[in-house]
Homo-oligomer: 116 residues x 2
């Protein structure tokens, strides 16, 4: 594998599986690329939310807007330049605010959903 | 492990090992935290560079400024909101520009340096 640079326009954004709100994700590096991690961008419309049980460790870096994550220990809210780590096994509700949000994400191992 | 949010002021920034330029890194999640990944922030002064052989897969999300990465396949340059993936085994020279740079990073497995 070579050193690669990505920008959000490189990502093919698809609606995140299992939901029909305006939450889109586009992988740039995944299980086809030979590394153990998935890299991508996420885009959230205004005031949308998604509840899932994390099947992977997911690190979100907020690039635009704000994201709140509710878990059993409370709610954290992150804005541009801030990071949220959602460990594997956690049940989370990810919610955008009125301006929507753009995120970069890295997961280990490769991203997949595990709904309960 | 719980869901956690980080901002750059949470990171204790130390000079990146093996060099005495103004390149600092601060881990927020590492081998003490029970996940397989390291998460942190990096800060680069103006026009500094660092050459290393990647011992891990390292994903940098540029938050401020610009970073160029030279490898055997050429040079990529990333600005705010852009991502550079430096796969394990690659020999890279990471260079900042006149404004310096701030990055968020995620590595798998845990970050360490391997100089040759």
């Amino acid at each position: 594998m070579n050193v690669r640079k990505f920008t959000i326009t490189d990502a093919v954004m698809d609606r995140s599986p299992g939901q029909d709100e305006d939450i889109f994700a586009g992988n740039l590096v995944d299980e086809h690329d030979g590394a153990a991690i998935t890299i991508g961008y996420g885009r959230y419309g205004p005031d949308v939310s998604l509840t899932e049980t994390m099947a992977v460790d997911d690190v979100m870096v907020v690039l635009e807007g704000r994201i709140s994550v509710l878990s059993e220990t409370g709610t954290v809210t992150a804005g541009p330049g801030e990071i949220v780590h959602m460990p594997r096994g956690q049940r989370v509700t990810i919610r955008s605010h009125e301006t929507g949000a753009v995120t970069a994400y890295v997961t280990y191992p490769h991203w997949r959903t595990a709904r309960s």
